[in-house]
Subunit: 444 residues, 2 copies
């Protein structure tokens, strides 16, 4: 048995958005590059495969209560690539609010400057607030966004592949630098984009940066089956996670790909201390920061129920839920995950808020380092994931506790790498190099 | 007398694009992040204010002969900000092929992660090849591009200013994080853009990143008068440079600004060695790399003349030139600069190619370190510039020769800082902080 990969989220102040209220937390840490540099170094010292940042290009109304979207993650992680040597970077970018040429070029650049440590986490951004920042009166519906994403990734991957091996000749005698016949325009004309190409420079060390896909809707899974190297997903129950992984592997096979070349990275919020007792105490302190009524009402509404009917402590059973989730911007993956939890046993909105670290959807895992390691091992051995994207409940404490306390246990058990075996993130994830991934250079 | 600022271009293999043909040059250095890291450290050790990279988002036909556009400069310089502490970064970005929200957000991010060392060099990109990468069948005419740039910078600067001081409250007791009344949407609806705003995070350490403007056309100068902190310009003759600086200062005053708050950074290509003899020998070796006939024909055509009439060694006088420069994508600043050179005395196309380091327009300065220092001091004392953007003729040699040989002379003469006096690039350039530049934080 080989082990699993580990990504760590840099989300600050933590997956509990109100963690900034705790006495030990600097409420401005999410603007402090020194904070992120310390996290990155701790992650690299522990041999973590990559750090991760989500994104949405807008300010939400929640800023009254907590920081939400932070510093642009592309620039933040490009900076951190200059302060580290082996750590990988998973940068979330929107196919709805970028142009394919700029995005292809910037991730090509991140792969060059990081020496092969770049991954792009593709999202389609279902937020009206983002739409209003980019000239759209109404945001695109989900089906249109995924159709655009499909065309977008088709263009981006072809831009990444445009320079054939051997295109750079660099013959000092004749003065011929490149063979233009081996550098192909993409000449794309589609529904959303017209892009001639090629990129100005050859591919970076990975050929293509790793492509991560994060949406759990039908459109997202279809996109993943065709393009994704890694699927970042959410699951509150183990059986749901196992079924999801099998579904993605089937879709990859149906798209003519080797299912082992699509890795599932399961999101999990970790609250970990030296002892279970301490972890449980910290759990209660974090719960106390939550604006519970507001979050409970949101969870209830996202399930298609009314907060007038279901108060924070009213039990919701699977029979209470509508057959289909409500239409709207809320994530299909998070919705399915919450429904599975209620199907397992009835829960109150308060419990749902707690078990998802404030209602954002990912499973909260609380315990001592041994307990956290046991849980990850259990889910991994059950076939629930190829690796985990670990999100700190309170980043000021849990990020370092995870790297310092949990990682060594996983290493002793042979579940996680003791040291970096390769610089290229693609190789560490066990992913193949795409066909044209060799450097486009004939000779040195 | 205060001294001048110094920026260094990272353009590789050098302002002589064919420098890759020289025996000592690695022809793939422009793809090698280790190369750029070494240059950045050499610049920082010398106290250089900022490193600079131009850009155009397309591959040109010249790739058969030499690397042109390189790795995306925004990502490359964000990476270098992680490998340095004091060096500034001037990143060229196009107002024609970016959206104002993304650009404002990314430079806000670069200012945060670099702790106040970010500058954006605004260009409008007059290249049909770039247009074809972004869905335009025909690139926008110059007047339209500058009208767009004007609206673009208006939106971007308002996005940078959107968080008032004190907007972040961070009251742990009440749970109130920010005062939304002090975070202003921009609510812009114009000819080219609709942008609601605000940015998700407050301004970085500089309030606004430094704005550099690089176009010498009427549209460019008008933009500079209103928005630019620094104007990056070209001049082949000292009197032309003095007149240009006076013109920009007049325009700033007419726009209601203090003329001392617009700095002129004059581009100059430097070829420098321990001795003049060695520099002159290297100059001949660099000339020998040039595809002279092709470059001479280009220079001739850019002046509005025919290469059939004027061969490489035919003398062009000021009377041969048409009254107005030819219409087209060629830079107005470079054109004016070349005409001024011919007005000084008649020149052959070969001479024009040589004196502009291959025909791209900036003045070539060749000599020993003392001679180069004398020349810069002479132009500075004459009022030709507030500082220089120095471009290495052959980056593999001249970048380090400049920092190692020329900078100490300038420091001894009191013309250049002996050490960094401030981290913020804005302060080092002697620029004021814009009105809302204080951190948007009420209390720690």
């Amino acid at each position: 048995m080989t082990g699993f990969h580990l990504n760590l989220s840099l989300l600050t102040p933590g997956h509990f958005r109100q963690a900034w209220r705790l006495p030990h937390v600097d409420p401005l840490a999410y603007l402090d590059i020194g904070h992120f540099e310390r996290l990155a170094k701790a992650a690299e010292d522990a041999g973590i495969d990559a750090v991760f940042l989500g994104d949405g290009p807008a300010l939400g109304a929640g800023i009254e209560h907590a920081p939400e979207t932070g510093i642009d993650p592309l620039i933040l992680l490009a900076h951190l690539s200059g302060a580290t040597d082996r750590l990988g970077f998973v940068v979330t970018s929107s196919t709805t609010y970028n142009s394919p040429y700029n995005l292809a070029r910037r991730f090509n650049a991140l792969d060059h400057v990081s020496r092969g440590r770049a991954a792009v986490n593709i999202v389609t951004t279902g937020s009206p607030a983002a739409a209003a920042n980019f000239g759209l009166d109404k945001h695109l519906d989900k089906e249109t966004r995924y159709r655009r994403a499909h065309e977008f990734l088709d263009v981006v991957t072809r831009l990444w592949d445009a320079w054939e091996p051997g295109a750079v000749v660099a013959d000092k005698e004749s003065g011929r630098y490149a063979d233009a016949d081996l550098i192909h325009p993409v000449d794309h004309r589609g529904e959303f984009f017209s892009v001639r190409g090629p990129l100005p420079v050859p591919a970076g060390p990975q050929g293509r940066p790793v492509i991560v896909q994060a949406g759990g809707s039908e459109g997202g899974l279809s996109l993943a089956g065709e393009f994704a190297d890694v699927v970042f997903t959410v699951a509150q129950t183990r059986s749901k996670a196992v079924a999801f992984r099998e579904d993605v592997r089937r879709r990859a096979a149906a798209a003519g790909r080797d299912p082992d070349h699509v890795k599932i990275s399961l999101g999990v919020v970790v609250l970990v201390s030296e002892t279970e007792e301490e972890a449980r105490q910290r759990e209660q302190e974090l719960y106390a920061t939550l604006p519970l009524d507001r979050l409970a009402a949101t969870v209830t509404a996202n399930l298609g129920l009314s907060a007038d009917t279901f108060g924070p402590d009213d039990v919701i059973t699977i029979d209470d839920l509508p057959d289909a989730p409500p239409q709207g911007a809320f994530s299909a993956g998070f919705n399915e995950s919450t429904r599975a939890l209620i199907a397992e046993r009835p829960r109150t909105p308060r419990e749902l808020v707690h078990s998802s670290a404030g209602g954002a959807g990912h499973r909260l895992l609380v315990g001592s380092a041994e307990q956290v390691a046991d849980d990850l091992e259990n889910w991994f051995r059950a076939g629930a994931a190829d690796g985990f994207t670990v999100m700190a409940a309170d980043t000021a404490v849990d990020f370092e506790n995870f790297t310092r306390l949990v990682v060594p246990i996983l290493q002793r058990r042979g579940l996680f790498q003791k040291e970096y075996r390769a610089t290229a993130l693609r190789e560490r994830y066990g992913l193949p190099r795409p066909r044209r991934a060799r450097p486009a250079v004939r000779s040195a």
